[in-house]
Structure formats: C-alpha cells, structure tokens
C-alpha cells in the first residue's frame, strides 16, 4: 500500500507538428501538495487534460492510483476530484442540484448526500448560495462550486488546473485558502499554476515543465537549495523592528548562515547551508534570541529565481 498516486509514463501529445507534451515521466506518491509549474504554453493544462482523459495521448499513459486513465477512465477517475479549465456549470441548476448530480453520478448514497453537499458548500463558503441558480454567479463563485464538485466524494487525489486564474485578488486569496484547507493526511493534491507565490504558499513539492518537458520534480526547499549553490533561504518576520546592530553582530553570525539581508525593519532573509537539519537548528537558535520571531517562510523570490533561470535556460 503506497497511498494516493499519480504517474505519467512517456507521455507525449502532438497537435499536428507541435509537440505540447514531450515524453513526460513523473511519479508522485503519498499525501502532499505538488505544484505543477511552467510558463503559458509549457504543457501544464495539456498534461492535466491527458491525466483526466479529456484529450488522448499521442504516446504514453497516465495512471491515477495505479489505474490507467486511458484504459479505464471510469475507475481511474473514481478516486480523483478534478478541476480543469474553469468549467461552466449548467446555468439553470442551483449548486445543490449541480452537486446532487455529481453525487448521484459518483454513487454517493442518498442518505449521505445532503450532508456531503452541505459540508463541501461550507468548505468553499457557498452555503448561503446553495439554492440560487448558478447562471447568476460570478466567475469566482462558479469556481468555488467547481472545487466543491471536485471534493464531494472526499477524493484521495485532487487535480486542479490553475484554480485561481482569472479571479480578482480577493477571489484568488479565497481559492488559495480553500486549497490550503484541502490538505489532509490521505490526500494528494496536484495543482498547476504559474503564480509562484501561490505554489510557495500551499505546496511542499514542485514539478517544473517547459516546452512539454519536465525540468525537475523535487521538494520546494531542495529545489531552492539545488539551484542556489547548495544554500537554502528563509524569510523571517519579527513582531517589532530589529535594529541593524542586532542583525549584523547577532543574526548574521549564527552557525550555518552564509548571508543575511534585512528586507525591511521587521523582515530578514537568511541564507544558510546544510539543508533541513541546519534550518531546524538555526530557527531554534534564532527563537532563543528572543527577538520576537513571529513567522518564517520560504522566500517567494527564491523560487522565482529558480523558475526564471530554468525557463530561460530552455528558451
């Protein structure tokens, strides 16, 4: 037993002379959130459509939980929840009816149905709109219903194609919050995006594609470390301004630190060598200084630098 999994083997998709996905191999196992990154036209959506049998491969095969999507789409998609290309929902239906249809087709027992619908509508914060017709909804509201439809059977694998694209900043933040809440101990989330902050925010691992080819697949911290001369970086935020005389003599001289940059009075970027073990020790020491550490995050710009360097290398 290996838990939820997604695998693509030698996946290729050609549209005439154009190769959108080129001999892609990727195996993701276990409960985690994996960001599928790449610029526009890199082959992200095409890969996800192949993975959900919306289009057919020129070569290769896709598997969800070990079942070939191409051989048995019905079984393969039974344990997956998908959101591809911001679908439209039949406008005359209400969210309750649309989700009822999904529940019906997925075989959710009648006794559980109303409760499941209420639960997922609550998760996507659409309970107040449960009985209004979808045709009157904004794009963001429809997207939330689409996410609810993907979750109604409590899937082990969730495939999301740029879930916040096209939404206003508030809608993006809401969808991101929903995706963050989707993380569970037995769930694999595979999410395409070209919004790096979104991926940094919710994903532990990233796969980068460009021109249909996989450039790498690794944990976020490994990726940042691997492409920044073995150094990792974290941004640390303090409750109060930290004076430069503290940053220089105290923080910059902590063991393992290779560089220390004050981003603003309350934020400092630390670069260090030694991977996760060094990071753990460094943060313990830093907290021990009682400078008011309130947050630590992977720097968005670190992934951005890796992203840009890898994409430009392929161009």
């Amino acid at each position: 037993m290996t838990g939820p999994s997604i695998e693509v083997r030698g996946l290729t998709k050609r549209f005439g002379a154009f190769t959108a996905v080129d001999t892609l191999n990727l195996k993701i196992e276990g409960a985690k959130c994996v960001g599928f990154l790449g610029p526009n036209g890199a082959g992200k959506t095409t890969t996800l459509k192949l993975l959900t049998d919306m289009i057919f491969p020129s070569a290769g095969e896709c598997f969800i939980n070990g079942i070939s999507v191409q051989d048995d789409r019905k079984r393969a998609l039974s344990s997956a929840g998908t959101l591809i290309e911001s679908p439209e929902i039949y406008p005359s239906l209400t969210p309750t009816e649309a989700l009822g249809m999904v529940a019906d087709l997925r075989g959710i027992p009648v006794a559980e149905r109303a409760e499941r619908i209420a639960t997922v509508l609550g998760e996507v914060k659409m309970s107040d709109w449960a009985n209004e017709r979808v045709g009157r909804f904004s794009k963001g509201m429809k997207q939330r219903i689409n996410i609810a439809a993907a979750l109604i059977h409590d899937p082990e694998v969730v495939i999301l194609d740029e879930p916040s694209t096209g939404l206003d900043p508030r809608g993006m933040a809401e969808v991101r919050s929903i995706v963050r809440d989707l993380k569970k101990s037995n769930r694999l989330i595979f999410m395409s995006s070209h919004i790096l902050s979104e991926v940094t925010d919710v994903c532990e691992e990233v796969a980068l594609v460009n021109r249909g080819k996989l450039l790498f697949y690794d944990t976020l911290s490994n990726v940042v470390a691997r492409f920044s001369d073995g150094n990792s970086a974290v941004d640390v935020r303090f409750a109060r301004p930290v004076p430069p005389e503290v940053v220089g003599p105290q923080i910059a001289r902590l063991p393992g630190i290779t560089a220390c940059t004050q981003l603003d009075p309350t934020r400092v970027r630390l670069q260090f060598a030694g991977g996760l073990a060094a990071q753990e020790k460094l943060l313990e020491t830093l907290v021990g200084l009682h400078l008011g550490v309130v947050a630590v995050s992977e720097p968005e710009s670190a992934l951005e630098e890796v992203y840009l360097s890898q994409i430009s290398r392929g161009d």
């Binding site: 838990g3 959900t52 027992p109």
Partner: protein, 288 residues
Amino acid sequence: MANAQLGEVALRVPPSTVQIPKLARFQLHEYVRSRRFYALIGIVVAIGAILTTVIAYYRTTLTNAGLLSGGLAFYGTFWGGGIDLVIVLAAVFFGGDAIAGEFQNKTGYFLMGLPIRRTTVYVGKFIAAYLASVAIMLLYLAILIGNGVVYLHGGFLPWQLGVSLLLALTYLAAVMGATFLFSSLFKTSAYGFVLTAILFLFGFTLIEDLVVGLTNLEPWMVISYAESTIGNVFANNVNWGFGATTSLSVGRMRLFNPGIGEGLVIMLGYFFLTAAAGLFLFEREEFT
C-alpha cells in the same frame, strides 16, 4: 487499485446503466428550466392558436372539403401535416447544441472530469433531449385534440392516431440522431442548428424530388420519404407492408408512397446509423 479504501470508492461509482437515467434526469431538468423550452412551448401554442383560428374562420370551407367530416381526415391533415415541423423544431432546439454546447460553453469540462463513460454522457443527453421533444409533441397533440373535440363534436380519436404517434416518435428518434451527429461533428452549436434545420425542413424533400425526378426510382434512402407515413396512416387504403405503391401525378411524374412497415424501417435505420456515427465521433472528440 492502490489500497482497499480506494477500492471502496471505485466500487461506489454506479454502472453506466444506472448513470444514464441519472444523467438524463438532470439534463431534462436543465432543459425544462431553460428559456428554449418555454420558447418552443410558445411557438407550438402559437401554431395551435393559428390553427384554431384558421379552422374557426374557414369552418365552412373546410367542412365542404371534407376535412372536418371525421377524425381520419381531421388528424390526417392537421397532425400528419404539421407534426414533422414540430419534431424538427424540437430536435433543433434540444439536440442542436447537446454535444457541441458541451465544448462551446465549457460545461463538458464539468461533466468529463467525473468517472463516467462518454457513451453514458451521449446516451443520457440523447434521452433527455428526446423526452423534452416528446413533451412538446404531446402539447401539439393536446391542442389538436382540443380542436377535434370542438369541431368534430366529440372526443372521438381514431386508432390510426396512435399508430401515427408511434411513427412520429420514431421519426423524432431519427431526426434527433441526425441532430446529435451534426452536434458531434462541430464544436460550434450554430452549425448543428442550421444544418439540421436546413436538411429536415427543405434539404431532404429537395433530394427526394430530385431522386424521383431524375431517376424515376423509389427514394427509399431519403428520410422525408419515410416520414410521409405519419400522415399516410390516416388514408383509406393504407399500405401496411414494406413495398411502395406508385401512382402518376398530373404531370405524369411517377409518385411513390412508402408502406408503413417500410417507412418505419427507414426511420429506424436513420436513427441507428446517425446515433452510432455521432457516438463514434464523440468518443474520439478532444476537449482541447
């Protein structure tokens, strides 16, 4: 399957035979709430109102012509002569974008991410469009029967009306099959609408006339020829068999009349061929 829990989830997904009526029910629900459904009801009611007015206004003329002399003449004229238009309109309204609309409106992305076979989607949508069209046909029939009760002084319904209704339902299946084929052929709904309307309102009749006029052969391959059985059922000397009867027109052109059995077989043939071809296309169509 990776583990036992996932196996349980997969097992819960109903078989296609159960998914088809479920999908058809939701599609029908969508149709019944749509503007097009009420627009078509409006059109049929308008046709019925015009018919009622015309019958009332020209009552004497129609009586002298024998059209109000009994149920056979009345229903042969007003049902046999009008239901084909209602059928084509209903098929275009409900089937024209049934498949193409899934691509054009992006509703297909909602449906195709589910554990459901494409055949299930196709058949479920077909059944829904068919049933919505039957509802419209029955409305037209109800209006006619209402007229019949008034103008024929009673509710007498000839048994031939039942046979004609069955033939009309078969014709609807054939037209809907063709509509779904055109809808599968294009990713833009308008093409399906226009092609179905042109072919079934004018095209096939033109082809039928050309076949007879140019070759003097029975146009058994043209569906408008088979469709004439819906009205022929009410004739006095009905040919129930599979062979055509012939006569000469005023211009000494040979006229063919299909037997009821023959017409039924032709319409069923159209239905099976077009439905299968449409399904074949849909199975291979990509949501690019």
